[in-house]
């Protein structure tokens, strides 16, 4: 555990000395702010123009994160792209693997490091929650549940991004692989519904990362959604560890 934390800290520090961090963060907060203002204005207008409108203020974050998660789908692979691919390219991965640390510790350490970077991004959006407390009457537990869903989805995105980073030594290719994989898991439900093949459509819908976020957006904790995200993250990390391990016998 200590080793994992050391690797994570190292990743975090090196991230904040890299210009990529600031490009990603500035882009994220700029878009996040724009989206928030757009939705806030739309809510305020709808409520003011519809007599007795029954619109829950807390549902604002549900709609907000439905849009922002698509932005993260493109941004988070940029955070994960150097984690393993840069190490492979520079040859430091082999060196790292010769150290007395396990492959799991390497991967989990890097994952934890990038997850902390993501956590900082999400923490910045709590300012918008504060704004809603000033202008409306939000339900704190509902919003907290929505944010828990955002963390689960983000963690899943990061796991896929880390896996993509492990299969290539080229960062650009790593980003592309990550985005493509995430798009597949985000849109699989949509494509399956176009084909419309009963049980296959149900299975594909279950695999969709987007479909499991819906309950969190409504302030609901659902066992099947939590289990899905946890198993998705574990499987993806497992695959990443196996890919890292394969460097020893290739």
């Amino acid at each position: 555990m200590h080793t994992i934390w050391i690797i994570a800290k190292r990743e975090l520090y090196s991230f904040f000395y890299s210009p990529i961090a600031y490009i990603v963060y500035v882009l994220f907060f700029f878009l996040a702010g724009l989206f928030f203002m757009g939705i806030l204005s739309k809510f305020a207008e709808y409520i003011s123009m519809t007599p007795n409108a029954e619109l829950e203020h807390s549902s604002l974050f549900r709609y907000y994160w439905n849009d922002m998660l698509v932005v993260l789908l493109f941004l988070l692979p940029a955070l994960t792209m150097p984690l393993l691919s840069e190490e492979k390219r520079s040859g430091t991965l082999e060196l790292l693997l010769t150290k007395p640390i396990t492959d799991w510790e390497v991967v989990l350490g890097k994952y934890l490091g990038v997850f902390l970077q993501f956590l900082i991004m999400v923490a910045g959006t709590l300012l918008y929650v504060l704004v809603l407390f000033f202008v409306g009457e939000p339900d704190l537990m509902w919003i907290a549940t929505t944010y828990l869903g955002v963390l689960f989805v983000g963690a899943s995105f990061l796991a896929v991004g880390l896996f993509a980073s492990s299969v290539t030594d080229n960062q650009i290719i790593s980003v592309i692989i990550g985005i493509v994989l995430l798009l597949v898991f985000w849109l699989v439900q949509f494509f399956a519904s176009m084909v419309g093949l009963g049980i296959i459509e149900d299975f594909a819908s279950y695999l969709s990362l987007a479909s499991h976020f819906e309950s969190f957006g409504k302030g609901l904790l659902d066992a099947k959604d939590i289990f899905f995200y946890l198993s998705f993250i574990v499987i993806t990390i497992f695959m990443t560890v196996r890919v890292v391990e394969s460097h020893k016998w290739r």
Binding site: P19, F30, E54, Y128, V131, D139, T145, A223, F227, I235
Partner: protein, 524 residues
Amino acid sequence: MAERKKKPAPTKKHHDSHESTKMQSVEPVPESETVDIMPPQGNSSSWLANLRLTLEGFFGMRQTQHGMNFGILLISVLGIAILLNVIVSKHVVWQKDMTQRQLFSISEKSIQVLNRLNDKPIKAIAFFSYGTPDEQIQEARDLLDMYKRYYDNLEYEVLDPNTNPILAKEYKLTRDGVIGLSYEGKKELVSSTDEASVTNALVKLTSDKVYNICFVAGRSADLTLDNGYSGLQAYVERDNYTIESIFLLGKDTVPERCDILLLPSGDGDLQDTEVAALRNYFNNNGKALFLLNALDPVNNFAAVLNDFGITVDDSIIVDRQAQYYASPLSPILQEYNSEHVITRNVTPQMQLNTIRRVDIATDTTEGITTDWLLKSGAQSWAESSYDTLMNGEGGSASLDEDAGDVRGPVTVAVAAESNPGTPADSAAAPGAKTRIVVVGDNDFLRDDFIRNPMAYPNTDFFMNVINWLAEEEDLVAISPKDRQVAPIVLTASQGNVIAIIVVIVMPLIIVFFGLGLWLVRKRS
């Protein structure tokens, strides 16, 4: 021809690093040890042996073994994960609603109703026209998702009735923004996107009982079910009721097949025998909707309704400011009781004409619960003098409280319900209820009103009344969710300040932080 030189016999030579790399001849291998690569034709066992060797060589490679281990492990782990997810999704139905007001979970009562459906398929269609706000459609989706979570065999979709006219006709749709439910060949329309309405609709779909509405004719020759109220038939049949016309004149009892009575006023008042029949009917937990127009004789109606703490007087509502058809006698109603299930979701645009004041008696009647449903505006009043009104449609009438006028808002519709087992001399079975709704107008359900597409709130109100009157004893009341109606207080200047902070200031803070860190690093 020159003779070809014979090549010398091959001799053993030692390899020397300085020698050329020309291939050296080797000692021939004894025949017994040779293995032909290309077996002679027809020798399959040799070919198989070679294949075996090739495969052994391939699978013996370290990379292949590691790769296969990887693949097998991955498939095993994926298989276990899929299996566990299937088990959890099908058998672990755990869900916690974290919202303060439990907005996205259905009640135990609704779950009980779903359990009675015996896992048979239910189809739900939410009809929303193009242009409906997303929030409204999402509300319907959320509602149906709630039910789907507990009942797998519910399928729903959102459709535009304009592009699906055949389906709209099948459900006898008169407007959009409604949910159509279909179960075992029966159809039910739900006009309100709330749990109580959907669950009650499900109860009706699973119930074999068909409620019969009896239109009590005889008050006016020109106002009968077939002439003047014929449009109601389509609405009631759409919700699995039947309707017929009966006469109570000369009868001392209401026919047993009448689950609900519909009593419009007319040129003549109730006869004494009719009054006795009605009292007997209500003593046996009858249910009725009274439509008492202003200017009609209603003394005997009033006597029956007085038993339930409902007062009916000879007044007419006048409103010079908010009115339909430029007539002060067609006031726009301003207040709809949002606490009562009948009026909670009715669009506040009902169109009534020549309305009588109907109110709750000041002395409460024991064992009876009475609620107001509709009120006129504060600027209106109940005019007690018909003579004044006869002069030019109320144009010269004015509020005169000393003369008996009642200042607005004035109640024009009420609902009364007896508590189970009362009145004390009731012959009703314990748990049964008498329910009565009185509206001070009989025009709003006439054909010339309800044919107007904009008058759909009139028929919505009517069907809500019928559904409330028909409430079965096992249809327990489901409390409506306490929905939020507070505004988001955001002035233009506040909006600008917030926009500047979140869109510009926050990203700039990050830029400056990064620059600061870079400068510190550069100096050190």
